[in-house]
Symmetry: C2
């Protein structure tokens, strides 16, 4: 039975990275995994509760990915961030750039979503930023970036630009926006003049 719950979450995440919450019908998710409506309501009280569980599930997956990269002590700190960027890029390429970021997608339609989604999505981004800031702090301690760099602020700038780049990569069905933003961000960290 728990397997049904997992299958519902997987099918939901796949759809919510492609399209919005409003555009994805419950019937479609149920149909895709062959789970009857009654079972669905056994696991999730409502579409809202399902949506919140999808955010948790995606955040868990994504946080584990960040922790894996940022915790890899065999790499220099900035190479850990480069490793994450390459991994996330490969993830988008694997789905031919049709899937973006679940948190970014839901953020875009937040005005039409149940109110609890908003606070939860802000929390999700803050969690990713805190991990990224810790990685940048390690880079600062290793002398890879300037000793007075504001790592919390840089981590926020990374996520603002990265989410914008994911959106654009999906629109263009191409990796170029991810590559352009990442190159500019690493140039910025190195204090290199742009160009």
């Amino acid at each position: 039975m728990a397997a049904s719950r997992e299958r519902l979450l997987r099918a939901g995440v796949a759809r919510l990275t492609e399209r919005g919450f409003g555009a994805v019908g419950l019937e479609e998710v149920l149909g895709a995994v062959g789970v009857p409506k009654g079972s669905f309501y056994h696991y999730f009280g409502s579409k809202t509760e399902f949506g919140l569980a999808l955010i948790d599930s995606y955040d868990g997956y994504f946080t584990a990915k960040l922790d894996r990269w940022f915790g890899d002590e065999a790499l220099a700190p900035l190479d850990r961030l480069r490793g994450f960027v390459a991994d996330a890029r490969a993830g988008m390429a694997r789905h031919a750039f049709t899937r973006g970021c679940l948190a970014g997608n839901l953020g875009q339609e937040v005005g039409a979503l149940p109110e609890p989604f908003r606070a939860r999505l802000v929390e999700v981004f803050e969690g990713w930023e805190a991990r990224t800031a810790a990685c940048l702090t390690a880079a600062r301690e290793a002398g890879e970036i300037a000793p007075d760099a504001d790592c919390a602020r840089l981590a926020q700038v990374f996520w603002l630009g990265w989410e914008g780049a994911v959106l654009r990569a999906k629109l263009e069905r191409d990796a170029a926006p991810l590559d352009h933003f990442a190159a500019a961000f690493f140039d910025m960290l190195a204090g290199r003049a742009p160009g």
Copy 2:
């Protein structure tokens, strides 16, 4: 009669900056402006055609805003870009950060949109970027940024980050993401180390 067309476009743009194309029903737009369905189909053959007209309308409005700022020869080139940023920020604040960018919103749900939307949205971003690149080229000629700066690439980085910041500002209902990204971008242009 042309006034009805304008009112339909205005009501549509307002809704599409708040929510997605899938989440906005035609009935709602028609109800808001008091235009009967028959008149709607007189102006627009379908919801798809209406959507494309909304993109054109928003692009026209936004391009005029960019041209106004970037064409203001009384300002130094980077102050023209700063003026645009402050103007766009004030626009979001006026709607209490509930409205984002119509092109960004539609881009996020592009997988669920009629195919002609995708090419048109890419074109819209390319138009904004070309204008921004011209402004940055003027800044380079004026000695405000490095003589070897790649202005086309910088303009793309600006729009990737700006769209990400607009998304986040809407999610947080706060100007801070816009301010953080703009500050980081101008630091980057100045070749200042981050911090």
